[in-house]
């Protein structure tokens, strides 16, 4: 199954610790052997954890641990679980297979070894176990320290330090004056009035157009009725007013309007009396 000699344990079975409770349940639950084993198995966080536990049962320095013995113990454990038809997470089985391979490699004559040597693989496993053991030990030492809120206590009812924020409002003279200028500019009605009066009223257009019509008998273009030097915007207004005035005069029968094409120049002349 394992041919490359890589060590399992990094193969996440998919249900690492999430599937296993963190705390080992108390042993009193387990009366039966089967149940006991199952409970124990449920307490380990993966094969490395189980291996570490087995190694510690050898009661020797992890550096002097017998990997062969450890392998036998692990395989025996897995066999036992298998015999009881307990469901084992895949990574336990992967580790078992790898250890079986390692064991056979360790027992083979040296000259048939490939790289990496079984000794190196064994050492690597040992190093990993050591590192996990070290972290577990210091974790326990950390938890046993005098911890704030458990062993030592902060003041129970501190008054607390408050920093009241007092806003220092800032505004410069220029801001003030500019703001006033803008208020006045924005709201001064005068400005609007002036703008509104840039128009020619219909009345004035009417009198202007009709008086000019009286002078000429020929066709005149509508634009000729506009005040000649007016501001462009006043011209616009005058054009509109004059057009309406022209319509009004035509309606009254005082003028006739002609346009040769769409959007073409609009021509205007006084109605001849005889045609009426």
């Amino acid at each position: 199954m394992i041919v490359d000699g890589s060590e399992p344990g990094m193969l996440w079975g998919g249900d690492g610790e999430s599937a296993w409770p963190d705390q080992r349940p108390d042993q009193d639950v387990a009366s039966e052997e089967r149940e006991r084993l199952y409970v124990e198995l449920a307490g380990w966080e993966g094969p490395l954890d189980l291996l570490l536990d087995l190694a510690r049962k050898q009661k020797v320095d992890l550096r002097r641990i017998s990997i062969l013995e450890l392998t036998d113990q692990y395989l025996a454990f897995i066999d036992q679980a298998g015999a009881m038809k307990l469901e084992l997470a895949a990574d336990y089985l992967v580790m078992a297979a790898w250890l079986a391979y390692l064991k056979s490699a360790l027992l083979l004559p040296k000259d048939e070894q490939e790289d990496p040597s079984p000794e190196e693989l064994a050492l690597r496993l040992q190093l990993r176990l050591e590192r996990l053991a070290a972290m577990r030990d210091v974790g326990a030492r950390l938890m046993a320290r005098d911890r704030l809120g458990r062993d030592v206590f902060a003041r129970g009812n501190p008054e607390g330090l408050r920093v009241l924020k007092k806003r220092a409002w800032q505004c410069e003279w220029f801001d003030l004056v500019q703001a006033y200028g803008q208020v006045k500019a924005r709201t001064a009605p005068v400005v609007h009035m002036v703008r509104d009066r840039m128009v020619m009223t219909l009345d004035s257009a009417l009198s202007r157009v009709s008086s000019m019509l009286g002078v000429s008998l020929d066709w005149m273009e509508l634009r000729q009725f506009l005040p000649p030097h007016a501001d462009p915007r006043l011209r616009k207004s005058a054009l509109a007013s004059s057009f309406v005035a022209a319509l009004e005069l035509a309606k009254q029968g005082k003028a006739e309007i002609a346009q040769d094409e769409t959007f073409g120049p609009l021509r205007l002349r006084a109605m001849k009396r005889g045609k009426e």
Binding site: R162, V163, K166, V177, Y180, V194
Partner: protein, 220 residues
């Protein structure tokens, strides 16, 4: 300054219990907490030990507790100034009060052309630049607002008369937005639009366009 005299074990325990307590505790309660000890001497010793320090042990009714020395209470509430720019609305409000004071809120709103949140005036009063200056004797008796001496100091003004008039504002280009064409027309010899007539009511202020600005129809 190492303590020459170390407290005894009971005193230390009482000190720790009082320090960690969330509520003031009576001598009996402390004693119960410490296995029924008589803690009265320890309390007396602690009270005397802390006397004159930054923290003191005090008795309120039958209960003891530790607290910051009263003369240092100001340390617990420290004020820190946070510079903050006046909002646009508040600046406008302040300007209107300065140019037209005293004014009511309704008058400010009619000049600004928009509603003014109550908080805006509060801000100006918090800043110390504006004060309520009585009530206007009209129906509803609205509060009227005026600037304070601090206002003049802050803006470096000898008096409100130092504020630039409308003509000056215009010359400085501060009467924006005004369309250029119009502005050209408005430079009229009569140009009587001076301000700030400090006491003009806002109605007047709105009607202060000089006749020269009348652009009447040229159709006449």
């Amino acid at each position: 300054m190492s303590e020459a005299q170390r407290p005894d074990e009971l005193t230390r325990a009482v000190e720790a219990v009082l320090f960690a307590a969330e509520q003031p505790m009576s001598a009996v309660e402390i004693g119960e907490h410490l296995g029924g000890a008589d803690v009265r001497d320890a309390l007396a010793e602690l009270a005397s030990h802390y006397d004159g320090r930054g923290v003191e042990l005090v008795k309120r009714g039958p209960r003891w507790h530790m607290q910051t020395a009263p003369d240092l209470a100001h340390l617990l509430r420290r004020e820190r100034e946070e510079p903050k720019r006046l909002t646009r609305a508040a600046t406008e409000c302040l300007a209107i009060i300065a140019y037209h004071e005293p004014v009511s809120r309704a008058e400010i709103e009619s000049i600004r052309g928009v509603q003014t949140a109550k908080g805006t005036l509060d801000t100006l009063m918090e800043a110390g630049w504006v004060r309520a200056a009585g009530r206007r004797e009209v129906p509803g008796r609205p509060v009227i607002y005026a600037t304070t001496p601090d206002f003049l100091t802050h803006f470096g003004l000898a008096s409100r008369r130092d504020l630039p008039g409308l003509a000056e504002l215009r010359a400085a280009g501060l009467l924006e937005p005004v369309e250029e064409a119009l502005e050209r027309e408005m430079i009229s010899p009569t140009g009587s639009d001076e301000a700030p007539d400090a006491d003009i009511k806002d109605e007047d202020a709105e009607r202060d366009s000089p006749p020269s600005l009348d652009m009447g129809d040229e159709s006449a």
